[in-house]
Amino acid sequence: MTKGVVLWTIVGANLILLAAPTVIVLAASFTSGNIIQFPPDGFSLRWYARLLELTDFRDAFWRSLQVALICTALSLPVGTLAAIGLARYRVRFATAIQVYLLLPFTVPLVVSGLGLMFLFGAWGILDQLWPVGIATCIINLPFMIWAVAASVNALDPDLEHAAANCGAAPLPAFLTVTLPAVMPGIITGGLIMFVLAFNEFIVSLILTDARTVTLPVLVYNSIRSVVTPDLAAVSVVYIVVATTAILLLDRLVGLDTFLKSR
């Protein structure tokens, strides 16, 4: 067999595997029947009309949006400064600091959720929404640092030295040379942090109650053995958000950046 045939067979199977749930959710949301079956009953937008009546889901959507905005607003400065600090400054115990900053990835999500629940419970803030935003920032922060660090490492330090030699003070040099150069990394990291917070599930499941429930948790709680199309229409919200984020990422940074060797 030729190389092309083998490669394409496996990649084709991958593509079907990757796309299947998305395509099916999208198709199911347009059915006119009361249950999801194959072949579908017909085409209608009735489940989208019903979406407007489902106030639980609408409230959960706004809460998820707030969580994602809090997470992004916190991650942008915290992650950017940390990445520049690690990549551009000589700090003692740099390796230990890196291991520590990777803690959110090495600790299982369910354990992070449990630990933060203990902590927020002790502080008496467990019934509020903003701690969920902080939590989603903590558990995904390495993504932000990674994204910015990749940009910082790609920036020639001589550019910053040149600015300093030409008489630029530290802050103007940072704002006019370093920051614009690492902007692609900041945008990439910010978009990833927003989307991951918007669809974060297990930590939110642990940290939310009936009054602070976010959209992924509500979708999970609503999944029953009989599959109804209203959930499919809700899920399409995620397809829309994901598509928007990918378009933005491609427009502002270019998806190809993810293929560059570090």
Partner: protein
Amino acid sequence: MASRLVDGLEVVRAALWPKPLAWATGYALLLPALLVVGLLALGLVYIVDASFRELDTRTFLLAETYSLGNFQEIWERTVFWRITGRTLLAAVIVTAITLALAFPYAYLMVRTRSSLLRKLLLISLFLPFFIGQVVRAYGWLIILGQQGIANTLLQQIGLGPFRLIFTYETVIFGLVQYMLPFAVLMLAPALAAISEEVELAAESLGARWWEAMLNVVVPMAKPGFVAAGVVVFTISLTDFAMPAVLGGGTNDFLANSIYHAFFRISDPGLASALAVILVAIGSTIVAILFAWLGTGTLGFRKSSGASA
């Protein structure tokens, strides 16, 4: 106007952060991140503390005194051994299948000369990654459920119905699909760093294409494989949503038993002890892999071999 604002900010900065403090700039930049991650570290302290306190069944509070009671209970109950074994086996299988599927995908994506195809392959990765786990699991439920599309189609050609949902295999299947984008995105940069000429050289010396692939490309991409493998293994090992939705309570992983111990049995001590065990198992295996294979491409710095 803008430059005057910058100059003004510089005056403020110079006053707040004078030259003698310059040595500390790196630490100052890292401080917010250290504090944010510190919240997680504090949470872990609570977990370790609770894991050594047994639940008093009369007061439903954790005991004041430390003991190994929770760990002893876990050690003696065969159900936890079974769940641990099931979780470990699934993580190994998922890692093997995912890496095998991800390598050709990443290879084709990096090597293709068509930028349109490359973009299509990238979008196919990012879309499921950005849609999230719950919605994807829900999609599989529609396809694989009792009256799902797969069974309906199979019955039309006279087969089935098969039990496609709430099985171990389905959980593994869902996890492979979940992990695929992670694996490809971690492998691709490592493959991009390998010059195509190396392969051509191998083939011109008489290696067949699959020999060049297995004996040249795969070994050169080892750091990428290590990074992707570790990420896929640890995320699968600790997953909650796929066993919960596609396993339907019959194929729980350790993460599910931690959740149940806390929210159903209402025993924070037992849940914490299980959490400590999960972290211990995961870290031990990753430490062994790193010692054996190196840290791969994990870590924030370009040239750091000993990171992560």
